[in-house]
Symmetry: D2
């Protein structure tokens, strides 16, 4: 399975092609669009986000609503909003690096592809991968566990607009609104769980087949993500081997500190990752330089106040794409029927 995406923040459309899905997978397009809409509706998004209403259209690869094994192309048209020109490099954005690399002679051009809007298509393709995974009983869930200094308990009862425990939603909203009033932005942390993988997905035999490589790299590639932790993550640094060992008792693990991956392979526990997102770097009044290297100051361009709730959707999508890739590597499968049978047989290998 592989994919490519294309499209700019203010271009005509976002386009994606995903290749390698088995035939026989029924795609629910409404579910994809609900997922895109939910992503746009969470707190922390800028005004532009709310004015858009992304609608993914599938242009190929389906017979009716069922995959044929042919590449699936997805289109999300942009509405007619104008490009926001600016003549300074915004610290924390791709502006300077892209301008130098690609020789634009324009500090704003790089942000067209560099914008987080690129993740809308990854989210759409990932929503397809999630439907594939759900068919075989694998679910992926992300939730906010921190925004700024507000730490949020993990929960099964998730508020839709904050993507965190319903009891903490107000705190999250408040801290984001306060930041917005100050003209500031916030970072935070989310937790991602992949549940239902059998033992044996990924491989330790070469680095790029490890599940922690696949998930770790792809999650790190999401704009604004600056730290990726598996299981206890940075918490491992100060603990000893005895303290963190995931021992067995009465036929099951006492803990899942390693986050479901041992030696790069799924071990049957939940796969757990944490992502830290930096605060959105779209802030006015920052000292910077312009395209000629002269001192300048940023003006507010656009952008979210806090991308952390929205990040949950992108992280779920990206995790789904990589998980599907790792599964198909083990299972092959031209059709869903073949794949389901192989998946069940794979799962039956480990009954411990």
């Amino acid at each position: 399975m592989r994919y490519l995406t294309a499209g700019e923040s203010h271009g005509k459309a976002l386009v994606g092609i995903i290749e390698g899905l088995p035939a026989g997978l029924k795609i629910d397009i409404k579910k994809i669009n609900d997922f895109l809409l939910a992503r746009q509706s969470v707190v922390g998004r800028g005004e532009r986000s709310h004015s858009l209403c992304d609608e993914a259209k599938i242009l190929s690869g389906l017979n009716g609503s069922v995959t044929t094994g042919a590449p699936v192309a997805v289109l999300i048209s942009n509405n007619g909003s104008k490009i926001d020109g600016f003549d300074f490099y915004r610290p924390g954005h791709v502006d300077l690096a892209a301008d130098v690399k690609y020789g634009y002679g324009d500090p704003a051009l790089g942000s067209e592809r560099g914008s987080a809007r690129e993740t809308a298509m990854r989210t759409a393709l990932g929503a397809i991968a999630m439907q594939f995974l759900e068919k075989i009983g694998i679910v992926i869930m992300a939730q906010v566990v921190q925004v700024s200094n507000v730490l949020v308990g993990e929960s099964n009862d998730i508020d839709k607009s904050c993507r965190c425990d319903v009891r903490d939603a107000e705190k999250i909203k408040t801290v984001i609104e306060e930041a917005q009033r100050r003209g500031d932005t916030l970072g935070g942390k989310i937790k991602i769980i992949v549940r239902g993988l059998p033992v044996g997905i990924g491989s330790h035999v070469f680095y790029d087949r490890r599940l922690d490589y696949l998930l770790g790299g792809a999650l790190m590639s999401i704009p604004s993500v600056k730290a990726v932790e598996n299981g206890l993550g940075v918490g491992f640094a100060s603990l000893s081997g005895k303290q963190v060992a995931d021992e067995w008792e009465n036929g099951s693990r006492k803990s899942n500190n390693c986050g479901g991956i041992e030696g790069g392979i799924s071990n049957g526990e939940d796969i757990v990752f944490y992502l830290t997102a930096k605060p959105v770097p779209s802030i006015s009044g920052l000292k910077t330089i312009d395209g000629n290297g002269r001192s300048s100051v940023t003006a507010k361009v656009r952008g979210d106040v806090c991308a952390v709730p929205a990040l949950c959707f992108v992280a779920e999508a990206v995790s789904a794409l990589e998980t599907a890739k790792a599964l198909l590597d083990c299972l092959g499968g031209d059709t869903m029927d073949e794949l389901k049978e192989r998946f069940v047989a794979k799962g039956a290998l480990c009954r411990k």
Copy 2:
């Protein structure tokens, strides 16, 4: 540039092939072997490590000591040590997952390839990549910043056996020795710097060309690494956009919180990553199961007490491989002469 590695912990040899290096690169084989030896000589390694004396031999791709553009094959022979059989799954190791996946019917077999010994070949290939990078002025440095609860200041004066500030070396040694006496193991944290990259390496246009993807994924794939942070990393979660902005003043940045990467592209500052390693999971007395799913207890097999100092070498090597890959993607280059010229021209694009 691409590579493959092969070889088991107690097999005949480790083998690596690296393909895509430019012609005209003079390789100093002694330097590679000094690097391998230094990796084996740091504190925290188990007894077996010290009995080995890795010697890399280059079997192809050179004319004398200069690359020809042909694939470079590297061989590290193993000495004759016997395989350590055991009949339980060690928590934290690949044992269970590999046995189920590959149907070994032997809890110990997976550890042959799953062993950290695999990283010796990555270290050797990375040492070649480091020589390539050095020719164009790029240096990579890793140092220990934490072992267990001992936090270590960053320094330019590095103790060889602890890979940390010389003034803190004793503290590190002590905490490791104490753990060893207790039959316990320790985790920790290292910092990696890639210095000398011009603006514009990596790309924001697709996720797998981003420098944070390349480095983040590959660093996460090193055995025992459970967290990868770029720049401030997890520290971003509780700070605001204004607090972390890398503003400009008098023609240079006031800070490098983003760790040298903006929008997935190098921005001319040091590339900075932090890795957290879990404690080595080779501990006796842990509750576990055996190959038949019955309760068992681990015995001491082998392994290091603390892999953190040794991790510095692997992390430097892996960072070198990915940095070289990203550079060659931009610069192409059949020969070092072509490449150097293009590198200088690339660097000259940004004089800010």
Copy 3:
């Protein structure tokens, strides 16, 4: 450089994404569409082809008409023609194999992606690659040299509708019309030239970097192509080393029997390939089986009488994509300015 395509013969649209083009390349969209139209207008195409009027739209990756380095997405909408259902497997088509592989339960479904219509998008993406190559002086030209038993001389004066020497165009038209009247179809042969490559593109060091691998494989992948020859091709079988040696005289080669590639690398002569296309397998009255394995007979479905003139366009496009890939592998290049400079320097290495 890489690309993906998607889309079915009677689906909503064909979609393509090409990733890795340098920034700063001015794209002439009209030229792409002229190329697509010319492909549809040659002799030998079925009725459906003439009713379509492909128009490629570029949805991303451009600033105005200039590439930004971001992925370029191309869309060709299909008109509303209905899918042609049929309940037998047409010999020579993908029908049977795709139905078994993907479990369609429908003999006609595989032909939706298996149709030569897929090549329209490869042609569009290749037309972009051709514009890239033209900017640095590389041209690609294909012409018909045989249709059925009509052998056609090579020429610089090419008839547009037959893609062969103007003096032979009538003969070609006649033989195709005769076949059409008989309800039969025809195969033939084309010649492709890539002119302007410097010495040193491709590499002998590993098989998948060889220019004959890149071009040979991609040309073989064009539907209906059943033979790929480089230079003298099958003619080499009966000749001796002395007879075919491309000797030097007065500073240049006396012949180009090896077709511009020695050891998998361009040698500065024209790159020459010949492709043999089988007759279009869309014929009525063939004995076959249906989806239940019972004897059946084909009815006319759709399709061209002779795909050989149209093949010239696809072959040019595919050759352009692979040539661009091989060039960018050597030259890298984030921008056209960088690339042009490097190309000139590369060409200057060989003045023999």
Copy 4:
């Protein structure tokens, strides 16, 4: 499945790593070496070939003689023969192109990796792939069908030293000996059959998953191969659709003109390819230039008189590698047990 190879004609060793083989495959190392020896023993090889006695050693990836799923490294040591220096570019060899590309300043250096000796390692890795395929009932056979003007009938009774019908072996030997006496070399043609593939291997959905792409490209990449034909190959050019249609009668095909591939997918018939090899370009007395561009004349360096019989082995090996790749893409499979079960189920899908 993927692999890399390394090693020069007169270097220390040839090295290969193959990654992605399932666990549980018993490897017969003697069979690999018999295959290598047979390749060296056929007629047409130069004197050096006979003095070598290649012995492949497997350095990793096995538990005893059974694969573990880890990468398999293969080593073939070279004997101590000295490099053959020369100061002219041999027409037909990589000499000129490699020297310009890699800046050697030595006309002979490129031939070290450019030599057909590179194919010894591909042959060894392919011999492993052949053992994998044999386990599931797939066999690959190549035979000589033409050397110079001697056409040879296809046969099941193959002479070992000529790799052709035993009744024609003398004719082949004679024509090769005559060429050798004249100081000339010969080309020819071989036929390759892959037997036992079920319907549905390869895919029409994207060009690089087509079986004709995989096999066609890889076969074209074998040194000296200048034409690749599938089924009737160039014979298709002059025939009509009715003449070549592989019609069905009484439940089976009347012919296999398409060579077992329809729409890029295996159709259950034998996969048939023909390769044309150019005469070995190692001839004395050819007009050429030297490293300074001055006129020169070639002296005899080394090399075979006719590589066509030896090509059979390389072609079988390369076909095995690509066939295994295509199979594993469909079937996945961490273990041979999983894979065999899936292969049987796949084959059962088509009972026509």
